[in-house]
Symmetry: C3
Subunit: 352 residues, 3 copies
């Protein structure tokens, strides 16, 4: 009886199946320090307890993307160990703040299944949830992955393609309950630009670039307890289509988020991820740049201290983003990530 596992194949999933994921996890200030050092994060509320307290928070919260990576990591051994590709994300919302010292678990529900025409692979759709030690949901998201079949001869029992929203509605975004940004200090925050200064359609070149090292993405991906082999095993990867280790897609998300500080410094909380696509795989040696576009603005009923910006951030490798290179153009081969998400940003008016 083999005690080690090679993960689930397409035939192993059932519509409506509930999966409780292994490896509960406490996120500590140690994890936060490492996360900060891997990307150079500088958003003020996550960087400083004192600054967080000036916004009505008890202390610096855990960066929402760190939380996302940790919960995502828990789903990998059950959902995507045999994934050919991460195809997409949707409806990712951060539902409650997470604090250093909190302990998290994760579960997923299979909400869609569709075998591919080749018969060799299928697409699995799951809704995953992160839960803290008090049973509070802190995060949920949908993702879909292309998973190998154990045997092409096996026939798929069920087919169902779920409908997901193109974007989380502004009214469904969750603002941390005690947050009051009316005294937000933009000098400490790092930018004079408030919510009110951004226009729909505006594009921002984030200018700075960062080169990825093997040790960095491996340390990051292990920090998230993500076990996908392609990130760690150079010998096995030699035989793969890519020929070498692939960087975890979430590593590019966090790099882009960090680089976007230069232009979006006051976009202090990622409140939701509407969708995301890893346009090309990234590898060590790639230098990541990014640019952003403001897609939409949302005002919350009854509060004048904060608003939400819907942002698209595109990350590229080895070329500057001063020309805003995008997927679907001749720039397609150098685009790594196309991410659509909501940021919470303090409003200027309340200063008046």
């Amino acid at each position: 009886m083999a005690k080690s596992t090679s993960g689930n194949f397409f035939e192993d999933f059932r519509l409506g199946q509930e999966i409780a994921h292994a490896v509960p996890r406490t996120i500590t200030t140690g994890d936060v320090a490492l996360y900060s050092a891997l990307y150079g994060m500088r958003f003020a509320p996550q960087s400083s307890d004192a600054f967080a307290q000036s916004l009505g928070l008890p202390r610096a919260p855990i960066d929402n993307l760190l939380l996302f990576h940790v919960i995502f990591g828990k789903t990998v051994p059950d959902v995507s160990l045999n994934a050919v590709a991460n195809l997409g994300y949707a409806e990712c919302r951060f539902l409650a703040p997470a604090w250093p010292g909190d302990s998290f678990t994760a579960k997923s529900e299979v909400i869609g299944l569709r075998e591919n025409a080749s018969g060799k692979t299928g697409i699995v759709y799951v809704r995953s949830t992160g839960i803290n030690q008090d049973g509070v949901k802190v995060l949920e998201f949908v993702r879909w992955v292309m998973v190998n079949k154990r045997d092409p001869v096996n026939k798929a029992a069920e087919t169902h393609v779920p409908q997901t929203s193109l974007s989380v509605q502004g009214a469904d975004l969750v603002v941390p309950p005690t947050l009051d940004a009316s005294a937000y200090d933009p000098i400490l925050g790092g930018s004079p630009y408030f919510f009110d200064d951004y226009q729909v359609g505006e594009k921002i070149d984030h200018i700075d670039g960062m080169t990825i090292e093997e040790a960095e993405h491996q340390i990051a991906t292990r920090l998230y307890q993500n076990t996908a082999k392609g990130h760690f095993d150079a010998v096995q990867q030699k035989a793969s289509r890519f020929g070498r280790r692939i960087v975890y897609g979430g590593h590019i998300m966090s790099l882009a988020r960090s680089l976007s500080f230069n232009g979006l410094a006051n976009g202090v909380f990622v409140a939701a991820v509407n969708g995301g696509r890893h346009v090309n795989p990234a590898a060590a040696g790639d230098t990541v740049y990014c640019w952003s576009e403001v897609l939409e603005k949302h005002l919350f009923d009854g509060r004048r201290d904060i608003g939400a910006l819907r942002i698209r951030t595109v990350a590229t490798k080895d070329i500057s983003c001063s020309e805003f290179p995008a997927p679907g153009s001749e720039s397609e081969p150098v685009v790594l990530l196309d991410l659509d998400y909501w940021l919470l940003m303090p409003r200027r008016e309340v200063q008046a």
Copy 2:
């Protein structure tokens, strides 16, 4: 008067000598985060305070191998700075749980000395102990190292080769005092297999592999405050027999321990190390795989919640372990580590 030190040579040791090692050390959740991220550790009680509390522990304990590396590191400047090779370990027992925030010191007693026939080196045997801020012994182990002589002309004053046990007796293993594994959740733990499901002689291929980077093993070895030059100084190592930096042997232990999660996930505590041999040196670029064999099973008197598995884990480089390659065979050149140790693992019966 030279204020810097080149470490002790074989002639500097005396039988019965007691050495108090420098550099007291508090292990924090920061160290734990880094340790986790360097290896991708996923054993549940060390990963989650909430899970640890479900087992009657006050919080997530420090991983015993992290504790071992830190105490080992303290002994290096006095014992093995001039070591040619780490020859072996024996009688390593973890005597009390260690918690983040605890402060440790280390001491060693010289329990054996034997000059080699060449007259150029000798073997030094020490029993080393780790002690916490309350004076409680948390760890002890014997190791022996081949150490250069300062001058071949010097004659050895004493010769004594100590007897060490081939294995720690099951009855001598220490279970953390408040531990109660009767409500252990195997889903969160990561495997359906309990103590009762493992058979003596059973072999497990742990499947996954991990490639070592220079930055990773250097960061790890410095985390342990281990100063052995061969791990850090590429210039000096060019002139060495190996020609490049050598990875600290304990780094391979922790990599193998992490990889063994896939097959031994519920073996949540390393209770003892019976013996270990670094069969070949490892270097950056090596991809580590491993397999394990169950050598022995131990039931503790009067407790039905937990048992001990004596495990042999063999780590290799650059080849899969599906064929269980072992030292002493034609696989010898690709074997990095041959480790014999005791794991504590919850028992199934209590669930009934």
Copy 3:
């Protein structure tokens, strides 16, 4: 309206200008763990809460150089994003102990400006200050950097070259208020040599060497939230004079400080930095060695437990320091750092 910034150019600075820097920062035990692991720090009071308490401190303080790097990092986006070179440091004093959990901000005053003859660059002198959450100054230092002009046509409005001290006076050094080193344990400290054992003019070869990896210096520099592009962007650096990523100069300071443990182990606090010069840039692959000279000794009025040693440490790359290679000699091309600083070290007499 461009929301991202390319930093200040020489013309943007005004004499007397006060700059409040962005990104407040809490330094946690997580940051401390990472700092320790990046350099292998072993000074006892920063390594162990229990040892710190034996000296009358509430717990292990934050290493002063870590504090320096964090405050320095905050000044980079405003002061030196367009710097051609870091020219020097002076009058750096550590004014109050910093503890894990403290939150820091930084501000700078422009105290000097001088355009260079070329008209393309100018020198900016700033006095920077680090402040904790209680408004207490923990650190101040002067530095001067050569900064590009936006346009050579622009004329400098003002010229003023401030006078800085060659060295902080011993009487101006701050000893942590509750520190009492009379029971300092030199065995745990790592060296039998006290303040009294060092002679002015004495030179110490610190022997050990450490090879720098790209991932290491990038992780360190991001830990300090230092955004200078030359450390991170391999693509942009290809077009630079150096042709590759440059290691943050402070990384060499901390490496040298860590290596100097072997010979200066009881020099447990850096109390001031009198001056420093990055003689040559460092890059990944360089192996750092160092040596030190005792420049001066200071006794504090009314205390017999501790004194101050003024030390010069010279760090080199790829060559041993047994011959004490110095800048200004034929060794100039291999010298990385020439640092002049004050260490606090326990005195022996009180043991009598």
